[in-house]
Symmetry: C2
Subunit: 204 residues, 2 copies
C-alpha cells in the first residue's frame, strides 16, 4: 500500500488537463495515463470508467470554486457591493483556473447532465435554493428602485456573460482582434471595464 499515494491525484490532474484541452469525446484514456506517468490500467483501477473519471474530475474542480462564489452571492446585501465584488472574484478565479473553465465550457454547449450532476453533488441542497435566493434578492433591489434591470434573470446573465465569455472565447477573440488576452494587464482592464459597465449600466 501507499506505494505512491498521490497516484489518484496525479490522474485527476492529468484528467483535468486532457479533458479541458480536448473535451470529453476528444480525450484519450491512454493520453491521460501518459501525462500522469502511470499505466493505463490504473485509470480503471481507481475510476472504473472514462465517464466516471470525467465526473470525478469535474466534481473535484467544482468543489474548489463554490465556497468563494457562494459567500458573495448570498451574503452581499447591496447591489453596489454585488456588482463590484462578483466580477473581481469571478474573473480572478477564471484566470487562475483556465483548465477548469475550458472543461466546463465544453459542457456548457451540451453534456449538461454531467456538469449539472457534478455541481449538484458538490454544492448539495443549495444548488437549487441558492439561485432562487439570489434572484429574489435582485428582485427586491429592483422593487426598492436600486437597480434599473427589472428582470433578475437578465441581471444575472449580464454579469456572468461579461465575466466569463472572454475566457471561453479567448482563442477566437485573439485570432479576430489580433491581441493577447489573458495576461495580467488584460485581466486588470477586463475587471475594471466590467465593473464600470455593470455599475453605470444597471445601478440607478
Amino acid at each position: 500500500m501507499i506505494r505512491s499515494k498521490n497516484t489518484k491525484e496525479r490522474i485527476l490532474n492529468a484528467g483535468l488537463k486532457e479533458f479541458s484541452f480536448h473535451g470529453y469525446a476528444g480525450t484519450r484514456m491512454d493520453k491521460i495515463s501518459i501525462r500522469a506517468k502511470i499505466n493505463k490500467a490504473m485509470l480503471f483501477y481507481y475510476f472504473s470508467s472514462k465517464e466516471n473519471l470525467y465526473h470525478e474530475v469535474l466534481t473535484h474542480a467544482v468543489r474548489s470554486i463554490i465556497p468563494k462564489i457562494r459567500n458573495i452571492i448570498l451574503l452581499e446585501q447591496s447591489p453596489e457591493g454585488f456588482l463590484e465584488k462578483l466580477p473581481e472574484v469571478y474573473i480572478g478565479f477564471f484566470t487562475k483556473n483556465q483548465d477548469f473553465v475550458k472543461m466546463v465550457a465544453f459542457d456548457f454547449v451540451q453534456k449538461t447532465d454531467i456538469v449539472k450532476a457534478a455541481f449538484e453533488q458538490a454544492i448539495g441542497k443549495e444548488f437549487h435554493q441558492g439561485p432562487r435566493l439570489v434572484l429574489k434578492k435582485i428582485e427586491k433591489w429592483y422593487e426598492k428602485g436600486e437597480i434599473s434591470e427589472s428582470d433578475p434573470l437578465q441581471f444575472m446573465i449580464n454579469i456572468v456573460s461579461l465575466c466569463l465569455f472572454a475566457f471561453i472565447a479567448r482563442p477566437i477573440l485573439e485570432a479576430i482582434f489580433n491581441q493577447k488576452i489573458g495576461d495580467e494587464q488584460f485581466i486588470q482592464k477586463r475587471i475594471k471595464s466590467v465593473i464600470n459597465l455593470l455599475k453605470q449600466g444597471m445601478l440607478k
Copy 2:
C-alpha cells in the same frame, strides 16, 4: 447524374446538426450519413475526409452570417446606432442559427485553427482589416468623448459577451436558474436588456 442533386446539401445540413450536437471529436460519420439518409461512402465521395467535411460545413455556415454583421459593424457611424443595432442583429441571428452557434462554440474553446481558417476563407481580406477598422472607429468615439470605455477591445468584448454567452451557455443556465431560455419572450427581453445596459453603461 443529378440522381439526387441535393445529396451534397443534405450532407452539409446533417453535418451541421451532428457537429453542433457532439463537437468534432464526438461526431460519428455514420450518424451523419444516417441523418442525411445516404450511404456513408457518399460522405467520402463528396468530402473526402471528416476534417474536410467539418471545414466545409463551417465555411458554409460562416458565409451566411458575415454580410449581415459586416454592414452594421462597418457602416454604422454613431455609437448609439452601433449599440442599438448590433445586439438585435447578433441575437436575432444566434436565435435562428443555434446549431451554427453551438458548432462554433465548440471551437471557441479550442480547434481555433479550423474556425479561423473558415472565417478567413469566407470573409476574405476583410478578415484582418475589418476588426482593425472597427477598433479604430471605437477609439475615435472615445476621443470625441462619445463613449466612456477607453479600450476599444473591451468595448467590443462587452458587446459580444452580452449577445452571445446566453446562447452558448443555454443548457447550463437553464439548469441553474430553472427557467427556459430561447423562447420568443426571452429573446425580446434579452435584446432589450443588452441594449439598455450597453447604452446606459457605455455611452456618455
